[in-house]
């Protein structure tokens, strides 16, 4: 039973996408397939999460081989959380897309590509083998690249080419790193690597880890290699950019967290100090970038970078509380950020633009939408009692605990700047009484349906804030689990190792 459970987050979208390919001319069948596939994925993710939460790590090797030889899939608490949150976002996106995606995208495999994207993402979270993670990255990269360029057009293509080529560079680094690592350690199973590298020369491990740091760093849009993100995320339809914004960079963050807690822990005082420095720079440049923009989605895109900084900061501090903060931040952020992109899509639907200087009147005319924007926006900015506050609080507390006051000050300053740039959107698109929407733009409809996803995610944001106690213990347990490597290793390699 657990075997089927472990593989289903990958196999369900695999099947769905495949069936969509086979019957790609039948629109209605495809829609049914897509929605039921998404819901099944959600059900599987929930079941997996419940199982892992209740009974501990699940690890099985594809093809029933023994661990380091076959490819192991592992669901520990962190993976299960990530799969669950991704699945929530995915389902919300599919619902949102049903109301907002045009015929043309639909004809060009929009839905199956969404499924392959979530497949790659779930896969990356679940795999216990570094090379296999590379494969999942490839699935993700190629799906996302096509989704980005789906509308054709110079504007989109330019963005997606930048996205693709820089990310390809990341893949090259990743692959090179894999080759070198395999040559050095003779294995790519993560648990096995953890065991074997524990006795290896720490200097060499650190050296090799740096290649992976760069590769994953590009994926998670760290300073200074984030440029691909703001270059691309404001170009595709809102549904696409929402799922990208929520999930793609988080896979990089997950990979960083996983590899730098399980594998590359030979010289924590060196590597993780670097991570802290990079994290602070990422926070700062990201938020400053956001503040300088005047396009709804470009502001949001730069914010992703800055928020990634927070998550990586928690990893860099490398204490239980800090990691719990990072994990809390991860799931809080995924939900909030996707939601903001959803809202940007609704705004575009109503006003025909993402540019703040062409927007206005929303607070007067669209009260519900305003409220639904306010919740994730101020959660992102870290205002209590919304989820973002607790995420930030945990990290700040961890920072103060470890005495890294300069980083805490940067983090708080960035929090203020985040609020500032959120009020920029609030002021520009909602409060301002210029550019009345009726002038020349007829909303194409569908906004009501799109609001469903927004409302659900906003509710989750509020609930995370209210039930931050259980949420925290969840994050804390996950952090405890990833810090105690032996649990993971035993689950994968069996008791003897």
């Amino acid at each position: 039973m657990t075997k089927a459970l472990l593989f289903s987050p990958v196999l369900i979208p695999y099947f769905t996408a495949t069936l969509c390919f086979v019957c790609h001319k039948m629109k209605r069948t495809q829609r049914v397939l897509v929605v039921s596939g998404a819901l099944l994925h959600l059900a599987a993710a929930i079941a997996l999460f419940v199982q892992v939460r209740g009974h501990g790590i699940i690890a099985h090797t594809a093809g029933d081989w023994s661990a380091p030889f076959g490819i192991t899939l592992v669901a520990d608490l962190l993976s299960a959380i990530m799969v669950l949150v991704s699945s929530i976002i995915f389902s919300a996106t599919v619902v949102y897309a049903l109301f907002s995606i045009g015929e043309e995208e639909e004809h060009f495999f929009y839905y199956p590509l969404m499924h392959t994207l979530i497949l790659g993402i779930s896969w990356a979270f679940l795999t216990g083998d570094l090379f296999n993670m590379y494969v999942s990255f490839e699935v993700m990269l190629i799906s996302s690249f096509i989704l980005l360029g789906l509308r054709g057009g110079r504007f989109q293509m330019e963005g997606s080419m930048k996205y693709f080529l820089v990310n390809l560079l990341s893949s090259i680094f990743f692959l090179t790193g894999l080759g070198i690592l395999y040559g050095y350690a003779g294995t790519l199973n993560m648990a096995d690597l953890s065991v074997k590298l524990a006795t290896a020369d720490p200097r060499v491990v650190t050296l090799i880890s740096m290649i992976f740091f760069v590769a994953f760093g590009i994926k998670s849009a760290l300073f200074p290699v984030f440029s691909w993100l703001p270059a691309a995320y404001h170009t595709p339809p809102a549904a696409t950019s929402a799922i990208f914004a929520g999930l793609l960079t988080k896979v990089g963050v997950y990979a960083l967290i996983r590899s730098y807690t399980l594998i590359f822990v030979a010289e924590v005082e060196f590597t993780h100090q670097i991570i802290v420095v990079i994290a602070c720079l990422t926070m700062l440049t990201g938020v400053l970038g956001a503040y300088s923009q005047s396009d709804f989605r470009r502001i949001l895109s730069f914010h992703i970078i800055s928020q990634i900084g927070y998550m990586i900061w928690g990893l860099g501090m490398f204490t239980q509380l800090a990691l719990a903060g990072s994990i809390f931040y991860l799931f809080h952020h995924i939900i909030v950020k996707s939601n903001l992109f959803f809202i940007s899509g609704i705004v575009q639907n109503l006003h025909g633009s993402y540019k703040l200087d062409r927007l206005g009147y929303l607070f007067r005319n669209k009260l519900v939408l305003s409220m639904l924007f306010f919740i994730p926006a101020f959660s992102l900015a870290g205002f209590p009692p919304l989820s973002g506050f607790f995420a930030k609080f945990l990290l700040v507390k961890a920072g103060v605990d470890s005495g890294a006051y300069w980083a805490v000050i940067i983090a708080l300053f960035v929090g203020l700047m985040t609020a500032l740039s959120m009020t920029k959107i609030w002021g520009g698109a909602f409060l301002k009484l210029r550019n009345h929407p009726v002038e020349g733009h007829e909303p194409p409809g569908g906004a009501k349906g799109m609001m469903v996803s927004v409302a659900i995610l906003a509710t989750i944001t509020v609930l995370i804030g209210i039930f931050s106690g259980p949420m925290f213990s969840l994050a804390y347990d996950a952090a405890t689990q990833i810090l105690d490597r032996s649990v993971y290793i035993t689950a994968v390699l069996g008791g003897g190792a």
Binding site: K3, L6, L11, Y14, A17, T18, L19, F21, V22, A62
Partner: protein
Amino acid sequence: MGELLILRFGARILVPLFLVYSLYIMLRGHNDAGGGFSGGLIAATALILYGLAYDVRSMKNLLKVHPVRVFGFGLLMASSAAVMPLFVGSTALTGMWIDFEFLHTHIHLGTPMLFDLGVFHCVVGGVMAIIVTLKEY
């Protein structure tokens, strides 16, 4: 189109040969150099040859179904091979083999072969889709 005559003649002979050979390469893969991937590549090469000799449309006709469907079915086969073992309590992709005698031959069939066949289809379908589009472009 006289200059294509030799090519067309060659294609007539070579393409079936290539296709049979690709199947052979795929099937022997488990014990010798080959496998679904290289088999698929050979088959694709054969089809390209055909396409170069005639035109894309006839190549498409030769294929009978849309290339997207070809790899669609390939993926379906591969994922079936992955899923089937889950129903008997093994993990995904676990090999399930059946041995039986058919016409006095010992037949040794298993899910890895289905998987390989899926790979074969994916490669053929994928390459075809690319070539067809490029040629039409």
